[in-house]
Subunit: 214 residues, 2 copies
């Protein structure tokens, strides 16, 4: 079975924006704060951060519960790891993700500034200064036969699309315009030369876009 | 985490029919043959019986690949096991499902005629003459914390609905009328007093109906 590189549950606005600008330690997603983009996932029964019982078990729940299935490693850009730019000034700070990161696999952080790997709970972070194809090769090896999730953010996904390394994408498009920020696309049609597309409106208002390689 | 009783990927026609009549060894699904009801699943990349690479990875694929996730046991009616009625005349015949049954868990076959359990590959069949609540209790125990799949057929699902034991249902409604056969419902509205419903049309033509308990 081929090991796929999959974008899963990546959230963007109706105008294609997946993250704000001016990211900082206090404002992980930048401004304007795009947290509203993932409210659909928080409403589902399978949302990993859910603390009370309940939540919906309809269409959106399939996507939240599929997030980790058959995933053996994640690749993320440095901005998904933290707000720092340039050389690391502080190895003590260990990412946005707390003592129990939600990945539960090896994670490969793409950065021009490598630093030692470390493990938090069942997630190990590696820092790699390499081209997308090389990072993917390392992630596939670590995934031990399972698929690799491409976690984002926007510019990391664009790099892997440019290198034609992505096998499937699930983008959840929320019915709100952000106007400014980091833009994944102007229109989903930009990917149709290389991908099939199912457009699936959810009763929650989000429109799931499912791409798979032709 | 609660152990759910889930109907998964159960296929019916637009007029609510899930199986034909006059089931026999040669015609497992009865007449008129409703195999066309699951062609949507066979077209997906995750279809377990797929022998060639390829297949779609859009919406329908989420449902085929979710079939086994977090399932620890299955309950089925006797007609899903085989065409025999009344006392077993032949213990040599071991069900429709071949030497590698697609369940990979304990399976509880509801029947008024018990017979010894046996194992084929990683599936063990048990034969239970008991009310739905009792069978569910045994299946939950065997599932070791995972969910239980209610595999059908039609009359088995109706029994568990009547006993109010079902937590979620995924019904795939195909755009064809069968006219006669075993009918699950006249309209999905019959379940709306007890369940939420997401209606999700797939680009393949099938309409996924996702119910979860209110």
């Amino acid at each position: 079975m081929a090991q796929l590189l999959r974008v899963q549950n990546f959230n963007i606005s109706s105008d294609g924006i997946g993250a704000g600008e001016h990211q900082s330690l206090e404002v992980p997603f930048g401004l304007p704060a795009p947290q509203r983009l993932f409210s659909w996932a928080g409403a589902t029964a399978s949302w990993p951060m859910r603390t009370d019982p309940g939540g919906s078990r309809g269409l959106d729940d399939y996507f939240t519960r599929d997030f980790s299935h058959n995933i053996g490693a994640e690749i993320m850009g440095r901005n998904k790891f933290g707000p720092q730019r340039g050389p690391w000034l502080d190895h003590e700070w260990r990412g946005w993700w707390g003592d129990e990161p939600p990945f539960h696999t090896p994670v490969f952080v793409m950065t021009h500034h490598e630093r030692p790997s470390y493990t938090l709970s069942d997630t190990t972070f590696h820092f790699v200064d390499a081209a997308p194809a090389t990072v993917l090769e390392r992630a596939r090896e670590a995934a031990q036969g399972k698929d690799v999730r491409l976690g984002g953010g926007v510019s990391t996904i664009r790099q892997f699309l440019d290198a034609d390394l992505v096998d499937t994408l699930h983008l959840a498009v929320s019915p709100l315009e952000l106007g400014s920020g980091l833009r994944l696309w102007t229109s989903p049609d930009e990917l149709l030369d290389r991908f099939h597309l199912d457009v699936v409106p959810s009763p929650s208002g989000v429109v799931h876009h499912l791409f798979w390689r032709k």
